[in-house]
Symmetry: C2
Subunit: 150 residues, 2 copies
DNA sequence: TATTGTTATACTCTATAACTATA
DNA sequence: TATAGTTATAGAGTATAACAATA
């Protein structure tokens, strides 16, 4: 990627695109024990108990179809279950199984190890700064326009 | 995406994956005047004159096939040309056309405008910090293992 | 024989629309 | 009629391997 020799101002969009691609290459399915998407979805469900599929759609920036595919996959693995919302029987509430919680914790460890590797050039302080900056950018984006073009 | 209500330590891998996805949604083809991939490739060629396709492969984290597809696209638009390397006639050297340079400059402006929008929540100082942190992480990654798993 | 680039092919992902059930 | 979820299908994107030209 040879970014060191770059003239001066490679855009943040460009840099982030590359970084994300490099991250995806390292975050392999073997390490996580599941696909990255499944890990992200499972993590979201853990932080937001009682989530519906509709909420997952907007939260994960996926379409309804994609959510179904991921949940089918997670259920096949025994990591999550869908049950009907008694208050509105059109809705499905997504919940983690015990097995799913354990798998998620294992994947968390793998992710932390990947991050230690990826962020090796940063000091602990810089890592925290980096994390909080990304978080703030994300919060700003989500607050501004939840669904840019859909 | 609702990251504000999150427990505490959503991983950097997770945050970056979301951010990249949100960025892709905003960086539309109409705004850039070309696809994001084409823009990235064109930008790389500008910063690295005399690049071969093989170099583009590793630089852009693409396979040989993908490079061919992008270059076909760029040539069809009249933005770049391939010519044989006289020193090693197996190689193709990629160069920008005048039209390609102009298109790239236009895309740069669009990208800057997107970035202003995306990084709106950060102060100018924070933006520069953010940029340099990403840059350092990338440099570290590329230096450590140019091709993680290929 | 190894390397560079191309082509062909298959696989995955994403997006769209049609369908079912509930409201 | 509108919404939540599912299914089916088509298009784009990505990866694999076979191939041609050159070293």
């Amino acid at each position: 990627m040879k970014t060191e020799g770059r003239r001066s101002e490679t855009g943040v969009v460009t840099l982030l695109t590359w970084l994300s691609k490099a991250l995806n290459r390292r975050t392999s399915e073997e390490l996580l024990g599941m696909r990255l998407k499944a890990y992200l979805a499972l993590g979201y469900v853990r932080e937001h108990p009682g989530t519906t599929q509709h909420e997952l759609e907007s939260a994960m920036l996926m379409d309804a179809n994609g959510v179904v595919i991921i949940l089918n996959e997670l259920e096949a693995l025994g990591y999550s279950i869908r049950r009907r919302d008694p208050n509105d029987r059109r809705r499905h509430i997504v919940e983690l199984t015990e097995s799913g919680k354990r798998a998620l914790e294992g994947a968390d460890k793998a992710r932390e190890s990947i991050e230690d590797d990826v962020l090796a050039t940063l000091t602990p302080d810089e890592r925290e700064t980096f994390r909080s900056l990304i978080q703030r950018v994300l919060d700003g984006l989500m607050q501004a326009v939840p669904e840019p073009r859909l």
